[in-house]
Symmetry: C2
Subunit: 252 residues, 2 copies
DNA sequence: CGATGGGTTGAGTTAAGTCAAATTTCGTGG
DNA sequence: CCACGAAATTTGACTTAACTCAACCCATCG
């Protein structure tokens, strides 16, 4: 057992990088292993098939694919979208590190949406059969898994509120505020971040056209609420954006 | 143990009505006990706190209420809705018998939406703590519970597609087709049913005004696709409605 | 350095919203 | 059972937020 693994001798490549583990993953306080003790985290690690790289633009799964695994995002960003019979697409979410993909597939053992990487990304493949066995043994994991599914339900309800009730300005403010808080939760700046999606994708998600998104960006910029340069965003007045999101402020 | 319960001697009131059971409930093939054998169904029955009556217009739970139980609808209809800080409401779903309410509350132990009965209804109160214990012992129940949560995620994604991408006509057709298939799954007519919600509630759910809903009803009626009389609906051309839903047919 | 895909801006259009008025339905008490 | 008021619904006329279409800009990259 003292014998070094071959990879250990390769310069510049640590074992950790090749065989990543939940315990060393910066996302473990947000992701599935949240709250697990070391032993349990180790067991979860065991069942994770592999850490898969998904290059920008590549498909992680598509509608109709048989369901085998959930995917935890280690790194990067994804979008999920639905497709109407007439071909119209609707982006149902943008996911980032620590979030779980594929939960919609549990109901019928087939995926119900497409998932594509917005940038070069990495996911942990969690075979659902194995996970189910662990759930029975690990109440903490079971509880957190349920929380994550429930959270997804809640998130989607908020989007329904956004799409069904909000004005374009309010939708866009809500979108920015949401991104901001998620980056903050991951230890990144709440005010400065890169948009990983195109204007078209933002528009699609928000039920707006690309032109409307562009105009909203210009409007917010003109009103001094943010700085924009291509995909780089800086929120200059987060409080105002939150007020607009809440509908308590109409915006100039 | 031979001694009759007091209620047994009341004329016209059966024990079954007072102490309903999953095994005798017409919804058990759609509801949480789906697929359970007799013994397991009995165990599930044991934990169900009570069958609660919820009169029309009454609140089952509201945003912020501490989460204690899920509710399976035995009978009747409910709506769930979100509320924006500015007071705007968005109906996120209409639920009917055999469906589960409250899953959004698991994530934070607080309810995230309001739930109100659309007519005099009855629910089975399923204390979540007890349910969690059962889940560990009963793999079939665990699996079906996950399916139900996943189904809710999928359902909400469809609504996002509807709200984000569809035209008013398409939304309304989708709404009718959806109700139709759910009644069919419950053994009711797929073509003739009562709307349990007001036009205003339909409009709110679909992101339309009450006037638009009224106009759409009139339009569909004029085009011979349905008969309407107050809340009574008869679908005369379900195939056409499905085609409109799919976006493959634009409607006259 | 020209092609390409993303993004911006302006002008005109339209689907759905708002406002208003008429009509029907429903619940309640006489 | 009927009358009445309140609530829900329908319909029409007009308005508007967001869309479409079109031109243009700009960053990137082979």
């Amino acid at each position: 057992m003292i014998q070094a693994l071959p990879s250990l001798v390769l310069p510049g490549v640590s074992v950790e990088a090749l065989r990543a583990r939940c315990s060393s993953c910066s996302m473990h306080q947000l992701c599935l292993p949240m709250g697990l003790d070391t032993a349990d985290m180790e067991r979860l690690d065991q069942i994770i098939g592999r850490r898969r790289k998904v290059p920008r633009g590549a498909t992680l799964f598509r509608i109709g694919d048989p369901f085998a695994s959930l995917y935890a995002i280690r790194l990067g960003h994804f979008k999920t979208f639905q497709v109407n019979p007439d071909g119209a697409e609707q982006i149902t979410g943008f996911q980032m590190s620590g979030e779980l993909l594929g939960m919609d597939a549990i109901s019928t053992d087939r995926h119900h949406c497409n998932s594509i990487a917005l940038e070069d990304s990495e996911v942990c493949e969690i075979p659902f059969g194995s996970l189910q066995q662990l759930l029975v043994d690990m109440p903490t994991l079971l509880r957190h898994f349920h929380r994550m599914m429930s959270q997804e339900i809640t998130r989607e309800q908020s989007v329904m509120l956004l799409l069904g009730n909000m004005q374009a300005t309010q939708r866009f403010a809500a979108f920015l505020v949401n991104l901001s808080s998620r980056y903050e939760a991951r230890g990144y700046s709440a005010t400065t971040f890169q948009l990983r999606m195109t204007r078209e994708e933002i528009g699609n998600y928000l039920g707006l056209t690309i032109e409307s998104v562009s105009r909203l960006l210009s409007k917010f910029k003109k009103e001094g609420m943010l700085r924009v340069s291509n995909r780089e965003i800086e929120l200059l007045n987060p409080a105002m954006l939150k007020a607009i999101t809440a509908g308590t402020r109409t915006c100039g």
